[in-house]
């Protein structure tokens, strides 16, 4: 059992929780994830690690309420418990000092970007962060990212903060202006990562994306998370979640993300009907 020691509302529907998980924190490296299961009837939910502190053993996870399970997770309060957490899973990113990296993060993807940006920053790499959200309210991890970045650019869909439009438009502009980072890292919704990879391909800039495929066990046993990379089938739980963005078959992956759409919708509706909808206002 993992007790929730801290819970924060980062934005509407985006929440942060912290649990004590010393073994996971000792071994976690940037790019890795955990799988949690809230209770006996729960799904196994993969969540990329947003922060892990070896000294305190505190594991930070950030999630967006999308379906039934994440909505239910969002209902938990400090002091409540999560039944199972396993990790760290996935292949860690091999992070070494480079001259310059550009971190392109969208939505809840800013949270898993943070440990990578931090790792580069600590090595003395120049970190340029491009952070996108639907609206100003939906921007998360702003202070944290600013602390580990040399420059930060923002975009919102509605123009309520920073550039009005897509974060990848800023990326395109920077590259057109002559910026040539050693690497671009893109974490966010699949269409955003696909767009980022398309932009950088034009300029021949290496691009790493972190895929959030549907998983069950997360240890390479089921192949639910399979994705085609450079014509080869890879399991993103084990060989990923990070892959060369120029080689990922995004269209296939986007289609695969819809596999359980009808079931997910049913589960969420049934859940919301049962609990009487969002209880945020009661807190």
């Amino acid at each position: 059992m993992y007790r929730i020691l801290k819970k924060e509302m980062l934005a509407p529907k985006i929440k942060l929780i912290q649990v004590y998980a010393p073994e996971i924190c000792t071994h976690a490296r940037p790019g890795q994830f955990v799988i949690l299961r809230m209770h006996e009837k729960g799904e196994r939910i993969p969540l990329t690690i947003a922060d892990s502190d070896r000294d305190t053993g505190l594991l930070t996870l950030v999630f967006q309420e999308v379906g039934k399970s994440t909505t239910e997770l969002g209902m938990l309060s400090e002091g409540d418990s999560i039944l199972d957490i396993v990790g760290p899973l996935g292949t860690a990113r091999d992070i070494e000092k480079l001259d310059c990296v550009v971190c392109v993060a969208g939505g809840v993807g800013v949270a898993p970007m943070y440990p990578e940006a931090k790792a580069y920053h600590l090595l003395g790499t120049r970190v340029i962060s491009l952070i996108g959200a639907q609206t100003k309210d939906m921007l998360i991890f702003k202070d944290r990212m600013e602390k580990v970045s040399d420059e930060v650019y923002y975009s919102t869909d509605d123009g309520s903060f920073g550039h009005k439009g897509f974060v990848t438009e800023i990326l395109c502009k920077l590259l057109e202006d002559g910026l040539r980072p050693d690497e671009v890292i893109a974490i966010g919704p699949l269409p955003m990562m696909r767009a980022a990879a398309r932009v950088t391909e034009r300029f021949g800039v290496k691009t790493v994306v972190s895929l959030n495929a549907i998983m069950v066990d997360g240890t390479g046993m089921c192949g639910s998370c399979r994705v085609t990379v450079d014509g080869e089938v890879k399991f993103s739980c084990v060989e990923g979640p990070a892959f060369d963005g120029h080689k990922v078959d995004f269209d296939e992956l986007i289609a695969r993300q819809n596999r359980f759409l009808a079931e997910e919708k049913l589960a969420l509706e049934r859940y919301l009907a049962g609990v009487g909808g969002c209880k945020c206002h009661q807190k």
């Binding site: 071994h27 396993v86 899973l89 069950v216 066990d217 240890t219 089921c222 289609a255 049934r270």
Partner: protein, 460 residues
């Protein structure tokens, strides 16, 4: 043995085989002629004293019979259900030369079930005092459970690590409820716990804790029983379409995550109206019969050789046939066809014929040119086998691996090339049977005991 009627059982997940009554068990036990050569015992990978336990059944001492089995086999309720007795103990039964062999598996199952209902299965568990040493067992499938149980009997403190949130390995995620009720897996795990084995779930050894760290923590030896959990895919176009599952994914969703009870349980599984299952082993039968129970209208097993070559147990093939599973034999998928939204809308297959014998001694299937045809399906389940799981073993530098990623061990001791690291079960052999993994777990336990005893100067 009495079974649920096919038209009833194909709509529920309850156990198909209902087991013997006391009268049927005694009658069956009385068929054993107690022949002096006991070929059945040598046919059993763990050497259960078969004629002795059968004799106890004949005398009505069912609890005594159960205890007799457990002297050699700590998981009788499971073995009685899923062991391929027809190729082991029953295959060599003296009665089998002229007629039906004694139904040893069914009798074993009867004893274990009787004890569970009428006795105290935990009463004879000896709690290990842990004085012999400390051993980490990785993986709680049949190899790990048996190795842990055996080591506890030998006085070791055993910690059993499991990466999933529940014990049992393939017994839990792979074999369906209707063939092996999970309450039985729970019961067997309780037995091992009562022997003093500590179980740590949600620990992926190699990631949550490394093998080196386990040694530093004071474990004297480590047993790797991590199984063959890496699914193959077909390697044909369209295998990533929506509606294509590996059998592992399909069965894990249903068995481990209980998706058959969605939305009461949160994990979904989608199964269409017309399902093709590719493969001819037990996993293919399990997948096909599970798809049927989830409401598929038509389920077809597609296998590239003929019925005689199917690796599944005959009993399971017959069960599937009775339930209305169709078999398309001597056919092999070529590609899976997509609708305009990325979902399966058919599977193109080619007819096969049997050619020369291959290295496995079976006649090699060869495609018949121009015989392609399209199977009208919306779901494809690929049950064409699994490889040893590379996740842990690749974190152990210098560990000797075979061509398919299997761990290489000394046959006698079960030890790998790294002192103190042992292995057994599917991670060594590739995908095999529950009982073979149990046999390997047991052998390795004795190898571990010898190794630790010698190191501690206790000698042999």
């Amino acid at each position: 043995m009495p079974k649920q009627q096919p038209d009833v059982r194909s709509k529920n997940f309850q156990e198909v085989a209902l087991g013997y009554t006391e009268e049927l068990a005694v009658a069956e036990a009385n068929r054993c002629i107690q022949c002096p050569k006991k070929p059945c015992v040598s046919g059993c990978p763990v050497g259960v004293d078969i004629p002795e336990f059968i004799d106890l059944i004949a005398k009505g001492d069912f609890l005594g019979a159960a205890r007799k089995i457990k002297e050699k086999n700590s998981l009788p309720a499971m073995c009685g259900r899923v062991c391929p007795q027809e190729t082991q103990c029953e295959a060599v039964c003296t009665l089998g030369k002229r007629g039906e062999p004694v139904a040893i598996g069914a009798l074993e199952r009867f004893c274990a079930d009787y004890e569970r209902m009428h006795g105290d299965p935990l009463s004879d568990a000896q709690r290990s005092d842990g004085s012999s040493g400390r051993v980490a067992v990785v993986g709680s499938g049949p190899a790990g459970l048996t190795c842990a149980s055996e080591l506890a009997k030998l006085g070791y403190k055993v910690v059993l690590f499991e990466s999933l949130h529940d014990t049992g390995g393939v017994l839990r995620y792979g074999i369906p409820e209707f063939r092996l009720p999970k309450a039985i897996v729970d019961e067997e795990v309780e037995y091992i716990k009562s022997q003093g084995v500590e179980i740590r779930l949600n620990v992926l050894v190699g990631a949550t804790v490394t093998v080196d760290e386990l040694f530093q923590e004071g474990f004297d030896a480590i047993f790797l029983g991590t199984g063959a959990g890496l699914p193959y895919f077909l390697g044909i176009p369209g295998e990533n379409l929506n509606g294509v599952y590996s059998a592992n994914e399909f069965l894990t969703r249903v068995n481990l995550m209980k998706a058959y009870r969605f939305p009461d349980y949160d994990t979904p599984v989608w199964v269409g109206k017309r399902v093709a299952v590719v493969g001819g082993g037990n996993v293919a039968m399990d997948s096909a019969r599970t798809a049927l129970r989830l409401g598929a209208e038509k389920v077809t097993v597609v296998y590239r050789r003929s019925r005689a070559e199917m690796p599944a147990r005959l009993e399971e093939i017959e069960n599937a046939e009775e339930e209305g599973i169709e078999f398309y034999l001597l056919a092999n998928p070529v590609r899976i066809l997509s609708d305009d939204k990325g979902w399966v809308k058919g599977m193109e297959c080619v007819r096969m014929e049997l050619g020369e014998e291959d290295s496995s001694g079976r006649r090699r299937p060869v495609p018949v040119p121009g015989s392609e045809f399209i199977l009208d399906v919306d779901t494809v389940i690929s049950a064409v086998g699994t490889d040893p799981n590379p996740l842990l073993v690749r974190t152990i530098p210098g560990l000797d691996l075979g061509r398919r990623g299997n761990v290489i061990i000394d046959e006698e001791t079960g030890m790998t090339n790294i002192p103190g690291v042992f292995a057994g079960g599917d991670i060594v052999t590739g995908s095999a049977t529950v009982i073979a993994a149990m046999g390997a777990g047991k052998a390795a336990a004795h190898g571990i005991d010898k190794y630790i005893s010698a190191r501690n100067g206790r000698g042999m």
